[in-house]
């Protein structure tokens, strides 16, 4: 087997290695028109002063200075970072364990998997409105069922609001990541577990020594999606809190939106947009490097 892995593929001889690159042209054109050109537009706007209506004037670096000195924007950056870390740190273990559980072939697990999957079918706006109604202290679930200890000012208290929204985000996104892990677990060859069993490894040992290492790339993919996704959280925050109370949940994308479309400072909003793009791209590139999935080494050696 080893020499097959090292043999240079015959197909790599110049030119004829695959389908014509022109096949990618429609996708590239679409990407260019709807992503690259607007992106350049945003970079341009970030150096301009514009209220959405009057004539645009050149602002130089004013917007950039404003974003990095304005307490609201700085707070938004800090919040986005917190949201990113907490949602990764809480969602990853939960979805990993759920994914491993769902990968089992038993009937009851299949039934539960379908139930876990449900939140994925709802739109974010509906989830936001639903939870907002449920946690309403005066007319929500807790007051109707007389669960006094749950009757808190979930979205109105500055220190509770961010946690509440993060919980709802977790509820909405964990099913998706569990699905990734379920698929990952099912790809692990049964022979590995059989070999481990012969060697006398218990369930716990098997999980740590086989399942977890074998899920390395799944963890990388899921983490990248979570971390970069956390930068673009918008809908649930918008629906549930609009950034309030005060600016306790005003994360960066929401700050961008409110600056642009409520305060009509398009230049400053574009600056925030550029920051989001740069941070998002660097994060996803960095994570890719870090996890080594860009090197694409095999995990199946010796099988």
């Amino acid at each position: 087997m080893p020499d097959k892995a090292h043999a240079p593929g015959a197909a790599t001889s110049r030119g004829r290695s695959g389908p014509s690159p022109w096949l990618a042209a429609p996708a590239m054109a679409f990407f260019g028109i709807f992503a690259v050109i607007p992106l350049l537009g945003v970079v341009y706007f970030s150096f301009m002063r514009w209220d959405g209506m009057s004539d645009m004037t050149f602002a130089g670096l004013d917007n950039w200075k404003a974003v990095f000195t304005d307490s609201t924007s700085l707070n938004a950056m800090k919040l986005s970072l917190v949201v990113m870390i907490i949602s990764w740190a809480t969602q990853t273990p939960v979805s990993l364990l759920l994914g491993v559980f769902m990968a089992g072939k038993q009937k009851y697990r299949a039934v539960l998997s379908v139930l876990y999957f449900l939140p994925l079918l709802f739109s974010s706006a509906a989830i936001g409105i639903g939870f907002k109604a449920m946690v309403d202290p005066a007319f929500g679930l807790a007051s109707q069922l007389r669960l006094g200890f749950l009757q808190r000012d979930w979205l109105g208290n500055p220190s509770l609001a961010i946690g509440t929204v993060l919980f709802v985000i977790g509820w909405a996104f964990v099913p998706f990541h569990s699905l990734l892990y379920q698929a990952g677990v099912r790809q692990i060859p049964a022979s590995m577990y059989e070999a481990a069993m012969i060697d006398g490894a218990g369930a716990w040992k098997q999980f740590w020594s086989i399942t977890l290492p074998q899920l390395k790339y799944t963890i990388a993919t899921s983490s990248t999606l979570m971390v970069v996704g956390a930068l673009t959280y918008f809908d649930l925050f918008y629906v549930m809190t609009q950034g309030g109370p005060g600016d306790a949940t005003r994360i960066l994308p929401l700050d961008m939106y409110l600056t642009g479309f409520r305060s009509f400072q398009m230049g400053k909003a574009s600056t925030i947009a550029v920051i989001l793009v740069v941070v998002g791209l660097s994060l996803s590139l960095g994570l890719n490097r870090l996890s080594g999935s860009s090197r694409m080494e095999s995990q199946m050696e010796g099988l």
């Binding site: 990407f31 709807f34 992503a35 690259v36 607007p38 992106l39 537009g41 945003v42 706007f45 209220d51 959405g52 209506m53 009057s54 645009m56 609201t72 907002k132 109604a133 946690v135 309403d136 202290p137 005066a138 007319f139 009757q151 808190r152 000012d153 979930w154 979205l155 109105g156 208290n157 500055p158 970069v228 996704g229 930068l231 673009t232 918008f234 809190t241 609009q242 950034g243 309030g244 109370p245 005060g246 961008m256 939106y257 642009g260 479309f261 409520r262 305060s263 009509f264 400072q265 398009m266 909003a269 574009s270 947009a273 550029v274 989001l276 793009v277 998002g280 791209l281 996803s284 890719n288």
Partner: protein, 439 residues
């Protein structure tokens, strides 16, 4: 990888596209706004009773004037405020532009030459409406906007049953009495005041009234005039302190920060007997009628003006709220479209039929000589009281968030939210807001 990048890119792209499309659009694209050469267009904000009244009114007009059509489109409040701005910037504005008076946004339209002067062109329309309400459509002595809907003074609504149970006598006329009533309401297990804190703008009505009662209209006029340090005047600080006193005394329902106004949860607190009073605009009467018809018809809902404060300079007859909503005419509309819009304003705007519709919906039309009509309606008691409130007000303060620039208004709402949550002191509020003066 590409998909992940794209997720980020597309997200920003949406923002960028809106911007770039707004930047390059000049010609009207037909259906969207602008209108073709021989027809006019109008956008307005949804909500009973005006939405249906306008729908019928424009439909009837289009039937009667086949060669002078007006295309109508309806938007929700927040969506409208965002869309109109971009549309005007792109030269795609509707012929009739809906607004909240000749302040803030409209002043910005005027300085960008986006709406026309209506001076001398709408005398017939103005002859029907109250002068004090017309005045809010005037900027620098020029009429730019015409009142188009009900007048909306803010007042205290109260649950008469709860007042009886707590042994509190309505109306409450002084701040001391108001504070003294708090323990009485708490003793019977209800909140003295309902407040939709999550929506932020209901907070503002408290500051508008308290600033007026403490220092008179001058307190806020200084801010509008761009006077240096106007937000940190002793009167403004006092008004903010009163708010925090009220919060500390548990004047508002528990967890008011989670209550929203768009779901009418604040009004519901009053008609379900969980809160005794609410400071809201006259439109809340319509919500009470809609959500709890038996509560209103049984005469359990009352209202009275905002009380005075100790040693305050403000006149207790002063009111705050929205004098009305307004129409302006876009300067980018064709001459023919402007012609149609002017004709419509003079002939149809707030005509008798529309006024009757408003009254039936529990709203107060800003027109002269309708007291008898109001008294004869189902909601006579409320409507005449509110009508008199408007007629007799020495000063009708428009909502501050409409008067200030968009930037200052947003800053104010966020900071005021923090005042109610006790996150900042009145002095910090003033310092943050002083930075927005002349910005």
């Amino acid at each position: 990888m590409l998909t992940k990048k794209r997720a980020v890119l597309t997200f920003t792209a949406v923002a960028a596209m809106t911007l770039s499309m707004a930047a390059c659009g000049t010609g009207g694209t037909g259906g969207d706004g602008g209108g073709s050469n021989d027809s006019a267009s109008v956008w307005y904000v949804s909500g009973a009773p005006k939405e249906t009244l306008w729908k019928d009114q424009f439909a009837a007009w289009n039937q009667a004037n086949p060669d002078q059509q007006i295309k109508a489109e309806v938007y929700a409040n927040d969506a409208y405020k965002e869309k109109i701005r971009t549309a005007i910037g792109a030269g795609n504005a509707p012929t009739l532009v809906f607004s909240w008076g000749a302040y803030g946004p409209v002043a910005e339209y005027v300085s960008a030459n986006q709406i026309i002067s209506l001076e001398g062109k709408v005398d017939e329309a103005l002859s029907r409406t109250l002068d004090s309400v017309d005045a809010a459509g005037v900027l620098d002595g020029v009429q730019y906007a015409v009142p188009n809907g009900d007048t909306q003074p803010v007042m205290l609504f109260y649950n008469k049953d709860l007042f009886d149970q707590a042994g509190v006598v309505a109306p409450i006329t002084t701040w001391e009495d108001l504070l003294a009533s708090i323990p009485k309401f708490k003793a019977i297990g209800v909140a003295p005041f309902a407040l939709a804190g999550q929506s932020k703008w209901p907070d503002l009505m408290w500051l508008e009234y308290l600033a007026d009662r403490v220092g008179g209209p001058q307190t806020f006029n200084d801010v509008v005039a761009g006077k240096e340090g106007a937000w940190s005047s002793p009167e403004m600080i006092q008004a903010l302190t009163y708010i925090q006193d009220l919060v500390k005394a548990d004047g508002f329902q528990e967890s008011f920060g989670s209550t929203t106004a768009d779901s009418n949860a604040d009004v519901a607190l009053v008609h379900t007997g969980k809160a005794a009073m609410i400071l809201q605009g006259s439109w809340a009467y319509g919500s009470f009628k809609n959500d709890a018809p038996e509560f209103v018809s049984a005469g359990k809902l009352g209202s009275f003006p905002f009380p005075s404060v100790p040693g305050g300079k403000g006149d207790q007859a002063d009111i705050a709220g929205n004098p009305s909503n307004y129409w302006s005419i876009s300067s980018t509309a064709s001459a023919a479209a402007q012609e149609i819009a002017l004709k419509w304003l003079n002939e149809e705007n707030l005509d008798a039929e529309y006024v009757d519709g408003l009254i039936a919906g529990g709203a107060i039309p800003p027109v002269e000589g309708i007291r008898d009509k109001l008294a004869a309606s189902d909601d006579g008691e409320f409507l005449t009281a509110a009508y008199d409130l408007v007629l007799n007000a020495p000063n009708f303060q428009s909502s501050w968030d409409q008067v200030l620039s968009s930037v200052a208004a947003q800053e104010m709402l966020t900071n005021l939210d923090k005042i109610f949550n006790g996150q900042i002191t009145p002095q910090e509020f003033a310092a943050n807001m002083d930075k927005t003066i002349n910005q």
